[in-house]
């Protein structure tokens, strides 16, 4: 079995209008810039995929990555914890103009909902957000004298993930804090698409060091020197 695909266009093929899309990364660390830009290329060429729901901790920065998807008009709704950044114009303008939706989720709840989605847990209780506006309308239960909010799993049609190493079977490692949401999202999406800085033969990643086992991965494409959001912003790049 070999899960590699020849290029970025093949990697993002099949993502269609109206899908939900998890995008790994926390700020720039772990952001799969090349996969996102390949999807923008596809949108520019074909007008699809549009009306996407994007799940990420943030809502884009500057004019690249998720922000460029928003600029291009591909995004209908963001599910995130923190739609602010050094340069949040892309989201802010569309949000204040009523052109984009927002489901705001506390960061730990966002992580746990995605983890639940990948783990077959349809709902769980958390103390987070109890008594706040973000618990409005959610079931409340008391356990051992304390109140908790019921939260539901979060799944997606596809996930875009940036890894450091991938073997042909899809076993992954990540680089430093670029790990963040990616192992959770890889498990919670129907179609998990990975860009890896290097693709290696099975056995070259120590089985003890695998962070995402290949069972969660569908497609792998090598992107040897991935772009970093912070560098693109410093250089004033606008992709959309």
């Amino acid at each position: 079995m070999d899960k590699t695909v020849p290029d970025l266009a093949a990697a993002v093929a099949g993502i269609t209008d109206g899908m939900s899309l998890m995008v790994g990364g926390f700020g720039g660390s772990g952001a799969p810039i090349e996969l996102i830009h390949a999807l923008i290329d596809q949108f520019k060429a074909t007008g699809s995929p549009g009306r996407l729901t994007i799940i990420n901790n943030n809502a884009g920065n500057g004019r690249v990555g998720i922000a460029a998807m928003i600029d291009a008009g591909m995004v209908e709704k963001m599910i995130c914890s923190f739609p602010r950044s050094a340069d949040p114009r892309a989201f802010t303008e569309k949000y204040l103009g009523g052109e984009i939706g927002l489901e705001l989720v506390p960061q730990g709840t966002l992580a746990e909902r995605i983890r639940a989605g990948g783990s077959g847990i349809p709902a769980f209780y958390t103390p987070t957000s109890y008594g706040t506006d973000l618990a409005a309308g959610k079931p409340i239960a008391e356990f051992e004298g304390r109140h908790y909010v019921q939260e539901r799993w979060l799944k997606a049609d596809a996930a875009l993930i940036k890894a450091e190493l991938a073997d042909l079977l899809g076993n992954l490692t990540y680089r430093k804090a670029a790990r963040n949401f990616s192992p959770l999202m890889a498990a919670a999406a129907k179609l998990t698409i990975v860009q890896a800085s290097r693709i290696v033969a099975p056995g070259e990643i120590d089985p003890e060091h695998v962070i995402t086992p290949g069972i969660f991965v569908d497609r792998i494409v090598e992107v040897a020197d991935p772009q970093q959001e912070e560098a693109l912003m410093r250089d004033g790049v606008a992709y959309a």
Binding site: R115, G118, G120, I121, D167, L169, G203, P213, G214
Partner: protein, 223 residues
């Protein structure tokens, strides 16, 4: 021609339906045999509940590493591209529906897809292990079993009489006499031994068989 398939032959038949690259969990005991009969050129990736993906055969006796075992506590080896993970991640794979196939043994299986394979009743020490998770754990949950018990009673029934492992979870049954799908709360006969008539098979089955226009021959090599 034998009047029934051996356990190895049942396992062989089940193995023929496993696609190349499938992620598979085999229950403890009899189902473990399935791994021996992968068709040439196909390579399934085997999962074990205790935290290993892509394990291989048993090591030679005397070369066991007891930190490298399967869910049945038997020593295993690794194939290239294996991964270790903890128990919560392992059952995330199971419960989250990431496995393609789970193949389990059973005491009884009902036409509703209900499975009873963990307890023969209130006597003795009850033990469940991962059985109740695995039945919710795969895109396809199949059972391999003798068609009848040792004393000749049907194991394919209308309703299970033993404590359930799961409700409506089984989709295919490989027996010593036949291959059946469970569809719309009925056993649908797909293949049977050439030497047994539909009437004979119905007589050995505790629920009504649905007989489609075409029923294949169940033929397994001597293995």
């Amino acid at each position: 021609m034998s009047t029934r398939l051996s356990n190895a032959q049942i396992a062989w038949r089940a193995a023929q339906d496993i696609e190349d690259g499938a992620y598979v969990n085999l229950g403890i005991g009899f189902p473990e045999l399935v791994a021996k009969f992968q068709p040439p050129g196909r390579h399934a990736i085997f999962h074990t509940e205790n935290g290993v993906l892509n394990f291989g055969e048993s090591p030679p006796e005397g070369e066991e590493d007891w930190d490298l075992i399967n869910a049945g506590k038997k020593a295993i080896t690794l194939k290239p591209g294996a991964a270790f993970f903890h128990h919560a991640d392992s059952f995330a794979m199971v419960r989250g529906g990431h496995l393609d196939v789970a193949i389990l043994g059973t005491y009884e299986v009902a036409e509703t897809g209900d499975l009873a394979n963990w307890s023969t009743g209130p006597r003795g020490v009850p033990a469940v292990g991962g059985a109740m998770d695995l039945v919710h754990g795969a895109k396809r949950v199949a059972v391999i079993t003798d068609h009848v018990t040792k004393d000749g009673r049907p194991k394919l029934v209308e309703r299970c009489s033993l404590p359930l492992t799961g409700v409506g979870c089984v989709t295919r049954v490989y027996t010593s006499l036949a291959v059946l799908d469970i569809e719309d709360r009925h056993f649908v006969l797909r293949e049977k031994l050439p030497g047994i008539s539909v009437d004979e098979l119905q007589g050995l089955t505790g629920a009504r068989l649905v007989i489609p226009a075409t029923v294949g021959d169940l033929v397994a090599p001597e293995v």
